[in-house]
Symmetry: C2
Subunit: 139 residues, 2 copies
Protein backbone atom coordinates (compact mmCIF):
# COMPACT_ATOMS: atom_id res chain seq x y z
CA UNK A 1 0.00 0.00 0.00
CA UNK A 2 1.45 3.33 -1.06
CA UNK A 3 0.80 6.19 1.41
CA UNK A 4 -2.43 7.58 -0.01
CA UNK A 5 -6.16 7.76 0.48
CA UNK A 6 -7.90 8.05 -2.88
CA UNK A 7 -11.55 8.61 -1.95
CA UNK A 8 -13.31 9.57 1.28
CA UNK A 9 -16.98 8.58 1.06
CA UNK A 10 -19.82 9.58 3.33
CA UNK A 11 -22.69 7.08 3.07
CA UNK A 12 -25.76 9.30 3.42
CA UNK A 13 -29.47 8.93 4.11
CA UNK A 14 -30.38 12.05 2.11
CA UNK A 15 -28.07 12.62 -0.85
CA UNK A 16 -29.66 15.86 -2.11
CA UNK A 17 -29.60 17.48 1.33
CA UNK A 18 -26.00 16.43 1.96
CA UNK A 19 -24.85 17.54 -1.50
CA UNK A 20 -26.56 20.92 -1.01
CA UNK A 21 -24.76 21.31 2.32
CA UNK A 22 -21.31 20.68 0.87
CA UNK A 23 -22.06 22.92 -2.13
CA UNK A 24 -23.07 25.67 0.32
CA UNK A 25 -19.69 25.09 2.01
CA UNK A 26 -18.11 26.19 -1.26
CA UNK A 27 -17.35 22.83 -2.85
CA UNK A 28 -18.13 22.20 -6.51
CA UNK A 29 -20.10 19.07 -7.32
CA UNK A 30 -19.01 17.08 -10.37
CA UNK A 31 -22.01 15.48 -12.02
CA UNK A 32 -20.49 12.53 -13.77
CA UNK A 33 -23.01 9.93 -12.61
CA UNK A 34 -26.49 10.00 -11.05
CA UNK A 35 -27.00 8.74 -7.52
CA UNK A 36 -23.64 9.90 -6.23
CA UNK A 37 -22.04 13.29 -5.58
CA UNK A 38 -18.33 13.70 -6.26
CA UNK A 39 -16.11 16.61 -5.23
CA UNK A 40 -12.47 17.00 -6.29
CA UNK A 41 -10.52 17.90 -3.13
CA UNK A 42 -6.98 18.60 -4.29
CA UNK A 43 -5.41 15.22 -4.98
CA UNK A 44 -8.23 13.19 -3.46
CA UNK A 45 -11.94 12.71 -4.15
CA UNK A 46 -14.74 13.30 -1.67
CA UNK A 47 -17.96 11.38 -2.38
CA UNK A 48 -21.50 11.25 -1.04
CA UNK A 49 -23.21 7.94 -1.74
CA UNK A 50 -26.64 6.79 -0.50
CA UNK A 51 -26.47 4.33 2.36
CA UNK A 52 -28.99 2.11 0.59
CA UNK A 53 -26.50 1.74 -2.27
CA UNK A 54 -23.29 1.68 -0.23
CA UNK A 55 -24.32 -0.93 2.33
CA UNK A 56 -25.19 -3.73 -0.13
CA UNK A 57 -22.14 -2.80 -2.20
CA UNK A 58 -19.76 -3.46 0.70
CA UNK A 59 -22.01 -6.08 2.29
CA UNK A 60 -22.06 -4.30 5.65
CA UNK A 61 -24.43 -2.21 7.75
CA UNK A 62 -22.85 1.06 8.74
CA UNK A 63 -22.97 2.34 12.32
CA UNK A 64 -24.78 5.46 13.43
CA UNK A 65 -23.52 9.02 13.12
CA UNK A 66 -21.29 10.57 14.22
CA UNK A 67 -18.80 8.26 12.57
CA UNK A 68 -15.63 7.15 14.35
CA UNK A 69 -13.86 7.93 11.06
CA UNK A 70 -13.96 11.72 10.91
CA UNK A 71 -12.44 14.52 8.92
CA UNK A 72 -10.49 17.67 9.63
CA UNK A 73 -10.26 20.87 7.65
CA UNK A 74 -7.15 22.82 8.62
CA UNK A 75 -7.22 26.56 8.12
CA UNK A 76 -4.51 29.08 7.29
CA UNK A 77 -5.40 31.35 10.23
CA UNK A 78 -7.18 31.24 13.61
CA UNK A 79 -9.85 33.65 12.37
CA UNK A 80 -10.84 31.26 9.62
CA UNK A 81 -11.89 28.60 12.15
CA UNK A 82 -14.91 30.54 13.38
CA UNK A 83 -15.75 31.60 9.83
CA UNK A 84 -15.90 27.99 8.60
CA UNK A 85 -18.00 26.93 11.60
CA UNK A 86 -20.41 29.82 10.95
CA UNK A 87 -20.58 28.85 7.29
CA UNK A 88 -21.40 25.25 8.25
CA UNK A 89 -24.24 26.42 10.49
CA UNK A 90 -25.62 28.68 7.78
CA UNK A 91 -25.38 25.81 5.26
CA UNK A 92 -27.62 23.59 7.42
CA UNK A 93 -25.03 21.90 9.64
CA UNK A 94 -24.61 22.23 13.38
CA UNK A 95 -21.81 23.66 15.49
CA UNK A 96 -20.82 20.82 17.83
CA UNK A 97 -17.98 22.67 19.58
CA UNK A 98 -17.49 26.41 19.14
CA UNK A 99 -14.03 27.73 18.28
CA UNK A 100 -11.64 27.75 21.22
CA UNK A 101 -8.12 26.94 22.36
CA UNK A 102 -7.04 23.32 21.80
CA UNK A 103 -5.05 21.33 24.36
CA UNK A 104 -2.32 21.01 21.70
CA UNK A 105 -2.02 24.79 21.41
CA UNK A 106 -4.00 25.57 18.27
CA UNK A 107 -7.45 27.08 17.75
CA UNK A 108 -10.27 24.75 16.76
CA UNK A 109 -13.90 23.65 16.82
CA UNK A 110 -16.20 21.01 15.38
CA UNK A 111 -19.27 21.02 13.17
CA UNK A 112 -21.62 18.22 12.16
CA UNK A 113 -22.87 17.87 8.58
CA UNK A 114 -26.55 17.20 7.73
CA UNK A 115 -25.98 13.50 8.43
CA UNK A 116 -24.47 14.16 11.87
CA UNK A 117 -20.87 13.36 10.92
CA UNK A 118 -18.31 15.64 12.50
CA UNK A 119 -15.56 17.71 10.95
CA UNK A 120 -12.84 19.27 13.04
CA UNK A 121 -11.89 22.77 11.86
CA UNK A 122 -8.46 23.65 13.14
CA UNK A 123 -5.60 26.06 12.87
CA UNK A 124 -2.42 24.17 13.70
CA UNK A 125 0.76 26.16 12.92
CA UNK A 126 2.83 23.00 13.51
CA UNK A 127 1.29 21.36 10.42
CA UNK A 128 2.10 23.70 7.51
CA UNK A 129 -0.28 24.02 4.54
CA UNK A 130 1.15 24.86 1.13
CA UNK A 131 -0.40 26.99 -1.62
CA UNK A 132 -2.16 23.94 -3.07
CA UNK A 133 -3.72 23.03 0.28
CA UNK A 134 -1.44 20.09 1.00
CA UNK A 135 -0.69 19.61 4.69
CA UNK A 136 2.53 18.18 6.14
CA UNK A 137 3.54 16.66 9.45
CA UNK A 138 6.63 18.24 11.02
CA UNK A 139 9.84 16.58 9.78
Amino acid sequence: MEPRISIVTVAVRDLDRAAAFYEAMGLRRHRIRDGVAFFQMGGIIFALFPRESAEPDAGVTFGAAPSAVYLAYNTRSEAEVGAVLAQAEKAGGRIVKPAGRAFWGGWYGYFADTEGHVWEVAHNPDFPIDANGNIALPA
Copy 2:
Protein backbone atom coordinates in the same frame (compact mmCIF):
# COMPACT_ATOMS: atom_id res chain seq x y z
CA MET B 1 -13.99 26.24 2.54
CA GLU B 2 -11.29 25.48 0.01
CA PRO B 3 -11.61 22.04 -1.64
CA ARG B 4 -9.45 19.99 0.70
CA ILE B 5 -9.52 17.45 3.49
CA SER B 6 -6.53 17.94 5.78
CA ILE B 7 -6.73 15.01 8.17
CA VAL B 8 -8.69 11.75 8.18
CA THR B 9 -8.85 10.37 11.72
CA VAL B 10 -9.96 6.94 12.85
CA ALA B 11 -11.02 7.01 16.53
CA VAL B 12 -9.82 3.63 17.80
CA ARG B 13 -10.38 1.37 20.80
CA ASP B 14 -6.88 -0.17 20.56
CA LEU B 15 -4.29 2.29 19.28
CA ASP B 16 -1.30 -0.08 19.32
CA ARG B 17 -3.15 -2.80 17.44
CA ALA B 18 -4.51 -0.35 14.85
CA ALA B 19 -1.11 1.33 14.39
CA ALA B 20 0.55 -2.08 13.95
CA PHE B 21 -2.03 -2.95 11.30
CA TYR B 22 -1.42 0.17 9.24
CA GLU B 23 2.35 -0.20 9.63
CA ALA B 24 2.02 -3.78 8.33
CA MET B 25 0.11 -2.29 5.37
CA GLY B 26 3.32 -0.45 4.52
CA LEU B 27 2.61 2.95 6.04
CA ARG B 28 5.26 4.73 8.08
CA ARG B 29 4.22 6.03 11.49
CA HIS B 30 5.47 9.46 12.53
CA ARG B 31 6.09 9.59 16.26
CA ILE B 32 5.70 13.25 17.02
CA ARG B 33 3.41 12.87 20.03
CA ASP B 34 2.38 10.01 22.35
CA GLY B 35 -1.19 8.76 22.35
CA VAL B 36 -1.76 9.30 18.65
CA ALA B 37 -0.43 7.73 15.46
CA PHE B 38 0.14 9.97 12.44
CA PHE B 39 0.86 8.87 8.87
CA GLN B 40 1.73 11.25 6.03
CA MET B 41 -0.44 10.23 3.05
CA GLY B 42 0.69 12.41 0.16
CA GLY B 43 -0.81 15.84 0.78
CA ILE B 44 -3.05 14.74 3.64
CA ILE B 45 -2.53 13.26 7.10
CA PHE B 46 -4.04 10.00 8.35
CA ALA B 47 -4.38 9.73 12.14
CA LEU B 48 -5.34 7.09 14.68
CA PHE B 49 -6.58 8.58 17.95
CA PRO B 50 -8.04 6.70 20.95
CA ARG B 51 -11.81 6.95 21.18
CA GLU B 52 -11.50 7.81 24.88
CA SER B 53 -9.53 10.92 23.87
CA ALA B 54 -11.42 11.80 20.71
CA GLU B 55 -14.96 11.60 22.09
CA PRO B 56 -14.53 14.13 24.93
CA ASP B 57 -12.48 16.32 22.60
CA ALA B 58 -15.36 16.67 20.14
CA GLY B 59 -18.03 16.26 22.81
CA VAL B 60 -19.74 13.42 20.94
CA THR B 61 -20.08 9.65 21.22
CA PHE B 62 -19.11 7.96 17.99
CA GLY B 63 -21.27 5.27 16.39
CA ALA B 64 -20.24 1.66 15.98
CA ALA B 65 -18.01 0.25 13.25
CA PRO B 66 -18.15 0.01 10.32
CA SER B 67 -18.29 3.74 9.94
CA ALA B 68 -20.56 5.42 7.39
CA VAL B 69 -17.55 7.56 6.54
CA TYR B 70 -15.23 5.16 4.76
CA LEU B 71 -12.07 5.24 2.72
CA ALA B 72 -10.95 3.99 -0.66
CA TYR B 73 -7.50 3.07 -1.85
CA ASN B 74 -7.35 3.12 -5.64
CA THR B 75 -4.77 0.91 -7.32
CA ARG B 76 -2.80 1.28 -10.54
CA SER B 77 -3.82 -2.17 -11.82
CA GLU B 78 -6.51 -4.81 -11.33
CA ALA B 79 -3.96 -7.30 -10.01
CA GLU B 80 -3.06 -4.95 -7.17
CA VAL B 81 -6.58 -5.11 -5.73
CA GLY B 82 -6.27 -8.73 -4.64
CA ALA B 83 -2.72 -8.12 -3.43
CA VAL B 84 -3.81 -5.26 -1.14
CA LEU B 85 -6.74 -7.31 0.21
CA ALA B 86 -4.39 -10.23 0.92
CA GLN B 87 -1.95 -7.87 2.63
CA ALA B 88 -4.78 -6.51 4.81
CA GLU B 89 -5.75 -10.03 5.87
CA LYS B 90 -2.14 -10.91 6.66
CA ALA B 91 -1.78 -7.68 8.65
CA GLY B 92 -4.67 -8.63 10.95
CA GLY B 93 -7.62 -7.18 9.04
CA ARG B 94 -10.49 -9.02 7.42
CA ILE B 95 -11.56 -9.36 3.80
CA VAL B 96 -15.16 -8.14 3.73
CA LYS B 97 -15.69 -8.53 -0.02
CA PRO B 98 -13.20 -10.46 -2.16
CA ALA B 99 -11.94 -8.88 -5.39
CA GLY B 100 -14.46 -8.97 -8.22
CA ARG B 101 -16.07 -6.97 -11.01
CA ALA B 102 -17.78 -3.73 -9.90
CA PHE B 103 -21.13 -2.57 -11.29
CA TRP B 104 -19.31 0.54 -12.55
CA GLY B 105 -16.91 -1.56 -14.60
CA GLY B 106 -13.79 -1.65 -12.45
CA TRP B 107 -12.28 -4.36 -10.25
CA TYR B 108 -12.65 -4.00 -6.50
CA GLY B 109 -13.11 -5.44 -3.02
CA TYR B 110 -13.34 -4.34 0.61
CA PHE B 111 -11.35 -5.04 3.75
CA ALA B 112 -12.00 -4.08 7.37
CA ASP B 113 -9.23 -2.80 9.63
CA THR B 114 -8.70 -4.07 13.19
CA GLU B 115 -11.46 -1.70 14.38
CA GLY B 116 -13.96 -2.98 11.80
CA HIS B 117 -13.86 0.10 9.56
CA VAL B 118 -13.99 -0.69 5.86
CA TRP B 119 -11.69 0.37 3.06
CA GLU B 120 -12.66 -0.12 -0.56
CA VAL B 121 -9.73 -1.22 -2.73
CA ALA B 122 -10.46 -0.42 -6.34
CA HIS B 123 -9.00 -0.18 -9.80
CA ASN B 124 -10.97 2.45 -11.68
CA PRO B 125 -9.38 3.40 -15.02
CA ASP B 126 -11.81 6.34 -15.31
CA PHE B 127 -10.15 8.06 -12.32
CA PRO B 128 -6.47 8.47 -13.27
CA ILE B 129 -3.74 8.37 -10.61
CA ASP B 130 -0.57 10.37 -11.18
CA ALA B 131 3.00 9.48 -10.18
CA ASN B 132 2.50 11.16 -6.78
CA GLY B 133 -0.65 9.16 -6.05
CA ASN B 134 -3.08 12.01 -6.66
CA ILE B 135 -6.39 10.90 -8.12
CA ALA B 136 -8.60 12.95 -10.44
CA LEU B 137 -12.23 12.87 -11.49
CA PRO B 138 -12.78 12.86 -15.27
CA ALA B 139 -12.94 16.40 -16.68
